[in-house]
Symmetry: C2
């Protein structure tokens, strides 16, 4: 018997996923393309109203694209802030959901949501310090440190670190509107598409694009390892669906670190140190449900 | 009246500092050059025995250079592990101190020690997520995230991240024995000395060396900001004694981030966002005393 009904929203730049449930194996969900804020939020509200006629929701969790304001003391808490995405700048997504469904709303970044999902149900069970990286149209990172989701001043923007750019091997200048050749500017799906003139899904698995992509991701992950010392690195997102990419990234991370970080987790078991999310594409929406469940806890 | 007597050791690659006391304003200390492990530890023991004849020590905290094994479940807990420093590899510093003074010993990295000192007495008071970076002969980083010192798998090795290396502007190849042109390989005091053929203290404040140094440190700090989202960045160490370096680093961090991370802490108040340690050179030894005080707490 389920006592409480939780809702989750994974608000992505290209699609919204909405779900009601309690676990990866016990949920009802729907998804639709992300359009305008008004239309997307209206569809989400409709889903929740439609599926909770018999029993009201206890809480909703939102795992959203950003940048987000997740400072609970801020006047713009729960807003998507300065996104370049059309019409989504300064949208108070948490308040809009809250005011129309009249339930408590928890909000965090999409990657922190996915990290929480993996900690409860996936690859990060039992860990207190790990990162979750998503590599798709853009690149984002989050995770937990010392048992709590990563927040700090705002929230991490791991996609925007600077990494070495070998101009001889890769004359493409980069596509980040803020930093040009930061990690996202060089290694996002958008960068791949602009560099090679075709969508990454269409690039054959043995195209040199993937070796370059593995190099950039490995540089970034090596930096995250040196900076945070995670117990595990979970790497999801659309680009990771190329089956050769993860093994190539692992090999290059080993070469980059060059046995300086002397942990057997890295030197002997890197296949378990850098892994795909166990929940796959469900990590985000399951994490959103977990955010709802923990709405009054200090984890978030 | 002081109930308990705490000891602290800041074990550095070039000098050992030993102290007994409770605060930056209430301590007795000594320092001596780091020589062999046996001799250095013998001198430390002598200091503590000599100063605690009337009242025994309650605990000792050690803030040590590394890499260190600080996993309390490890058989080599409290060891300095694979350091290139002569004769210090695989030295069980914590156990040697413990066995000769017969008091509980807490150990953490020198930078985590300094971070703790700054949180109790300095620039990080009231913060739960901040980094402490030291830029001297080598480069190291630590700090607190979500109110606890950074550990994770081992401990951070922030000096070993990869940053862009502009070979045209800086043909020096780098000096890290593991990674060649990582941050430490390009921007440590040792790298400066090898690149310019003289000790950094002797390089005039307006030498182009410092502009390059500021660029590298700013790239690293920008990466740490994007990765961790610290509430503040405390940067100490010998190279920071050049009074022009900190302002140049701040200006370049602002340029690197390019207003992408929209926090007024960065966009309006960077002089308070990237700061020198309030305790100056005392941060490490005061932090070592704080490690001793917290020996049974979960902060470490």
């Amino acid at each position: 018997m389920i006592d409480k009904v939780y809702g989750g929203i994974e608000a992505g730049g290209t699609k919204f996923v909405c779900a009601i449930g309690t676990s990866p194996d016990n949920l009802v969900k729907t998804q639709f393309a992300t359009t305008s804020p008004d239309e997307s939020i209206r569809k989400a509200i409709h889903f929740f109203k439609d599926h909770t006629r018999l029993k009201p929701l206890t809480a909703i969790g939102i795992a959203s694209f950003g940048p987000l304001d997740i400072d609970k003391n801020s006047p713009t808490y729960g807003y998507i802030t300065n996104t370049p995405k059309d019409s989504w700048s300064n949208v108070d997504i948490a308040q809009k959901i809250h005011s129309q469904l009249n339930v408590p709303v928890a909000i965090d970044t999409d990657v922190n949501g996915a990290a929480l999902g993996e900690q409860v149900w996936g690859e990060a069970q039992g860990l207190d310090t790990f990162i979750y990286l998503t590599v798709g149209t853009g690149i984002g990172g989050g995770g937990m440190i010392n048992g709590k989701l990563m927040h700090g001043l705002l929230h991490p923007e791991m996609g925007h670190i600077r990494i070495p750019h070998d101009w001889q091997k890769d004359p493409y200048k980069g596509c980040c509107p803020y930093h040009v050749d930061c990690l996202e500017g060089l290694a996002s799906g958008k960068a791949m598409e602009l560099r090679w003139g075709q969508s990454p899904e269409k690039l054959p698995f043995d195209h040199p694009a993937w070796e370059l992509e593995a190099s950039y991701l490995a540089l970034a992950i090596s930096n995250f390892i040196c900076t945070i010392s995670p117990q595990r690195n979970i790497v999801g997102g659309g680009l990771m669906k190329n089956p050769g990419l993860m093994p190539a990234v692992r090999r290059k991370v080993e070469l980059n670190l060059n046995r300086y970080v002397r942990s057997e987790a890295i030197t002997k078991d890197i296949d378990r140190y850098i892994v795909a999310p166990a929940l796959g594409d469900l990590a985000g929406i399951v994490g959103a449900l977990e955010l709802a469940k923990r709405i009054n806890q200090d984890i978030c």
